[in-house]
């Protein structure tokens, strides 16, 4: 009897390891369905991806589901429906911005996945950015202006400068230019120029737009100053129209997880924590190949630049969240360890607690994974008129360029 008692902890430890392995396998099976919505998206089968997303029970992921469906609607060029989803998502995100007592308690005792998905700051800014793009595509620049202004207000609420999201004032400048509000456009350009840390990191679209606007409206002293600051020069082209092409590319890398199983001397116990992470950054999908041709003229390739690197933005957002996520995971490890300690005398209860603690220890890998990896922008100065646009495997598109600023949004991530 005594012998059996002596051997029991050893066999239990073995059983524990077996269970850890089994749990890992089970969790692995659960998180990789046979063919997920992302696979269908990669294949370009948008209706099937939409069907799968609609079939998944949203529960705590209502916000996530709304933004995912918004991306899908955007890919279908259904900009109105996309904005309806984004608006719902925006309201949900606002509600979820306050810290939830019950969800924090659940996150400490079970895991972070049991709390409602509220999105990180980059994802929240992306809601406004995508809404603005949808409005631009629907030819409603005034509404797009409102969305980007609201994103700026949100940054003030977070007490962060525009340097974190410099593409926001830049996009605002372009929208104001489109509306014809030159003064506000210049204000936004100035703020965007200050937000980019160096002239090398400043996108050409900013340099071109800002300097051309100054040249067009005869702001000579500011033009000289800005040319020096941005290390760029432009020739005034008063009779030209501007075409701004926006192309999202690639699909955001899904978040992964890793587990730490270690001995903690302070609690004198082994602890297991699961944390989210992204695989190593290997760049984003290359710029699209697109050419533009005016009647009886040679076609010219459009040169794009990565104005919004979503992949890097999302990774940076997770990095900023990691201290809080890790602290919560460690607190959870302590709580779970205490619970196990309390049931130590009863081997059956202890075993059940161990199983519960192990099975529930999963990282929160939820993220807006239907976002593109990058938003490429290009600005062209053209003669007003009719153009033929060749893009990927699409039929050539006729584009009519009018005087002023014209936007063209081509949502096709593949």
């Amino acid at each position: 009897m005594i012998k059996a008692q002596k051997h029991l902890p050893k066999s239990l430890a073995l059983l524990k390891w077996g269970l850890v392995l089994l749990t890992c396998l089970l969790v692995g099976c659960a998180s990789t369905p046979k063919k997920g919505y992302k696979n269908y998206l990669y294949e370009g089968n948008i209706p099937e991806a939409e069907n799968i997303l609609n079939g998944i029970n949203a529960n705590n992921d209502k916000l996530l589901r709304e933004v995912q469906l918004a991306s899908i609607a955007q890919l279908k060029s259904d900009f109105k429906s996309s904005n309806n989803h984004l608006e719902t998502g925006k309201k949900l995100a606002e509600e979820l911005a306050a810290i939830s007592v019950t969800e924090t308690l659940a996150a400490i005792s079970i895991n972070q996945r049991v709390s409602k998905f509220s999105g990180n700051r980059f994802e929240r800014i992306m809601i406004y950015f995508n809404k603005a793009l949808n409005y631009i595509a629907s030819n409603d620049a005034a509404a797009a202006r409102i969305e980007i202004s609201q994103a700026e207000i949100l940054m003030q609420e977070w007490r962060i400068g525009v340097e974190r999201f410099p593409f926001i004032p830049l996009f605002l400048a372009l929208i104001y230019e489109k509306i014809g509000d030159i003064e506000n456009s210049l204000v936004a350009y100035r703020r965007a120029a200050a937000a980019y840390k160096s002239s090398e990191s400043t996108p050409d679209i900013l340099k071109k737009g800002y300097l051309q606007l100054l040249a067009k409206y005869g702001r000579q002293s500011e033009l000289a100053r800005a040319s020096l600051q941005l290390k760029a020069k432009v020739a005034a082209s008063p009779n030209k129209a501007s075409l701004i092409i926006v192309v999202p590319r690639g699909f955001m890398t899904p978040m992964d997880s890793f587990t730490v199983y270690n001995f903690h001397p302070e609690i004198n116990k082994n602890f297991l924590i699961a944390l989210p992470l992204y695989s190593e950054y290997s760049g984003v999908r290359a710029a699209p190949l697109l050419s533009l041709k005016q009647q009886a003229k040679d076609s010219a390739n459009v040169i794009f630049e990565n104005m919004v690197n979503v992949e890097l933005g999302m990774r940076a957002a997770l990095k900023r969240q990691m201290p809080a996520i890790t602290t919560l995971a460690l607190a959870r490890a302590v709580v779970k360890s205490q619970l196990q300690q309390q049931t130590a005398e009863n081997s059956a209860a202890s075993f059940l607690v161990f199983v519960f603690n192990t099975v529930t220890e999963v990282a929160d890998t939820r993220s807006w994974d239907t976002l593109p990896q990058a938003f490429y922008f290009s600005r062209l100065e053209l003669d007003p008129g009719s153009y033929s646009l060749n893009y990927a495997d699409r039929e050539p598109m006729n584009v009519s360029i009018k005087k002023g600023v014209n936007f063209l949004f081509l949502p096709n991530y593949r």
Binding site: A98, I99, I146, Q150, I153, R159
Partner: protein, 200 residues
């Protein structure tokens, strides 16, 4: 001790269950209810009432009516631009102004440009298809004397979860024939909004 603890637990459960149930209460449409702090029906109504009140108490009205003896000035409500940071449906706001002005009985209001296009289409149709007895005469519209143009502007001062929202509504009444500005009115709304830090 145990019984009071159980009652306490029961109360917490009841509270949590109550929070899960959707409740609907009918309220007076004129009541002031603010939820998010954004522009809402209350702001629209208050501003339009204020504008209508201010519009007729200013000297331009007496001078103008004296100049066009025997009839009321005819007004058309033009574009009211939304320059604020919120999606404000300017059509509902315009309608509120229209209601307040028509109900005052101090001005004749004609159909807006959008409505005019529809009405003209209808009259053209009548001219072709309606009987002579019921056909409406073309070129018999009531021409507007004055037009009301304006904009909604907003400034938001944010610090963390606290913000001050300031709306400025500028309206201008312009004589259509002479381009003379007869009246400029301004209405302001200021709100202090504090968002919650914690939720259940």
């Amino acid at each position: 001790m145990n019984i009071s603890l159980r009652y306490g637990q029961l109360a917490v459960i009841c509270l949590m269950l109550t929070a899960c149930v959707t409740s609907v209460n009918r309220v007076d449409p004129d009541s002031d209810i603010d939820i998010s702090g954004k522009w809402n029906d209350v702001d629209s109504r208050k501003v339009s009432e204020g504008i209508a009140q201010e519009l007729f108490t200013q000297p331009w009205y007496a001078r103008y009516t004296a100049g066009i003896k025997g009839r009321l000035p005819v007004l058309i409500i033009g574009l009211i631009r939304n320059n604020s940071n919120e999606h404000i449906n300017t059509e509902t706001f315009t309608k509120d102004i229209e209601i307040a002005i028509i109900n005052s009985g101090n001005l004749d209001v004609v159909a807006s440009s959008n409505q005019q296009a529809l009405l003209r289409q209808e009259r053209s149709g009548q001219d072709q298809y309606a009987s002579e007895a019921t056909r409406k005469i073309l070129r018999n519209e009531l021409g507007a004397d004055v037009i009301l143009l304006g904009s909604i502007n907003s400034v938001e001062d944010v610090e963390g979860r606290r913000s001050v929202r300031y709306y400025q509504i500028d309206l201008e009444l312009i004589d259509i024939e002479s381009n003379r500005k007869l009246w400029i009115g301004q209405q302001e709304i200021k709100k202090f909004v504090q968002k919650p830090r914690v939720r259940l």
